[in-house]
């Protein structure tokens, strides 16, 4: 992972995403291989100052209040807690017990805790799970903001859309192994659904569609042109045909 990027770990449930992240956070020991976070082995005490975590299966004590939780986990470099609560819409709930918070407010508190100590690396594990579409987009804005402030973000998700919108690079996990790596566009182009357009060209040549996004191959047989590529290729090729005066069928 490179400094300052949003790095995605994508995969279906049970693919091994969270296990990998837990190894990076020092919560689990790895079976093999060498792991380093900011040049240090996971679990190194000094890393706790530098890493912020929002965990998928974590909770706070039911009776702890919002303000108490932020005070409890604040280190010497912590941001101003009042500002953090204000930024995350928690100010009006500062005296509420964790057990009385809604799912959305709990998630906000976990994000606030992850950012509390000005981390250099932030792990977000299924951060938008259980959020409504509006809240999800708000969280996306926050993740971008975290990146703009200079932190490296590791985003674990099973939503391709989320990874596509947010991640600079990502890896795709399946059964504990990386099956694809690259930018979202590269992965979609290489592994997205295969789409084919088969039509009779009206004067167009293969060169007319070479530059269309998502095109992988163009073949011409018996007066028909067959273009193969990703799902988004269909939209680009159809736009080119329409612009050229042809109505594709």
């Amino acid at each position: 992972m490179s400094e300052g990027e949003i790095f995605g770990i994508l995969g279906s449930n049970g693919a091994g995403k969270t296990t990998t992240v837990e190894c990076l956070q020092g919560l689990r020991s790895s079976d093999a291989g060498l792991l380093r976070v900011l040049g240090r082995p996971p679990g190194d005490g000094a890393l706790r100052q530098l890493v912020g975590s929002q965990l998928q299966d974590a909770a706070l004590p039911e009776r702890i209040r919002v303000k108490e939780a932020l005070d409890l986990f604040a280190g010497p470099n912590a941001v101003d807690r009042s500002e953090l609560m204000e930024a995350w819409g928690l100010s009006n709930h500062r005296k509420k017990a964790f057990g009385d918070l809604s799912g959305g407010l709990r998630q906000r508190l976990f994000i606030a805790l992850a950012l509390l100590n000005r981390p250099e690396v932030v792990f977000f594990d299924e951060i938008t799970q259980g959020l409504d579409p509006v809240a999800r987009r708000e969280v996306w804005d926050v993740i971008r903001e975290v990146q703009h402030q200079g932190a490296t973000v590791v985003l674990v998700t099973h939503f391709m859309e989320e990874a596509q919108v947010l991640c600079d690079r990502l890896v795709v996990f399946d059964q504990g192994s990386i099956v694809a790596a690259g930018t979202p566009d590269q992965i979609i182009d290489a592994h997205g659904d295969r789409s084919v357009i088969d039509f009779t060209p009206t004067g167009q040549t293969a060169a007319s569609f070479d530059s269309c996004r998502g095109v992988r191959s163009i073949e011409v047989h018996d007066g028909r042109m067959v273009i193969e590529g990703s799902a988004q290729m269909v939209a680009y090729v159809c736009c080119a045909l329409v612009a050229d005066g042809t109505s594709p069928t």
Binding site: L27, R28, S29, D57, A58, R63, N117
Partner: protein
Amino acid sequence: MRLVQTELKLVMREPVVLTFVFAFPVITVLVLGNVFDADDTAFEGVVPAQWYVAAYIGVVIAAIGLIMLPVHIAGYRHQGVTRRFRVSLFPHWALPLAHVIIGMVVAVLGIAVLLIAGGVAYGLPAIEDVPTTIAGLLLGTLAIISVGVALGSALPNARSAQGLGLMLFLPFFLLSGGGPPPEAMGDGMQTISNWIPLTHVIRAVQEPWLDIGDPGNHFVVVIGILVAATAAWLWLAFRTES
């Protein structure tokens, strides 16, 4: 210190603490103190009510070590609170150590309430050997609380901790001094009583306080429990899932 303060507040918000640590021993000792005649000979020459007040210090400690702490800590593990702490700035040993400290603080409060209630109702006997009694109290409390932290760190959830805790608490409480006095027990029951750790904790406090025996052997057992339980919770605190 901040962790201890916060955890103490959270523990004191648990209804089970108020019931088992503060109310149960006081109510039971007040009832039992009135059951026996003051000159009953089964209490090693001590007034029964005063014998029970000394014994019920152990019951307060057992309520903390066998019920309060295991339920609290196992609940933390099951809910994912412990995981949250493991990625925080606190070192791995901080949370269990905080639980040992709050166990000690709650024990001091619970014992104070018991002694005030017992003292008002029956009068407190003079402490015959103050340093040994205090040493027995400190080591015994620390030992049972460490057992509680180790149990809570090992058990999967609050429900299992509550089940095991009650299963241990009832025989511990009945056979180690909170029920019939040793002289009223048959040989079999006395043998079982001698195998119960809480018996040695209570005797390590009772004997030097009331001058009814030499607590040396009980101290050896209590220190053994303390070392084993501390080693267990430390090991559990640093283990990592694979």
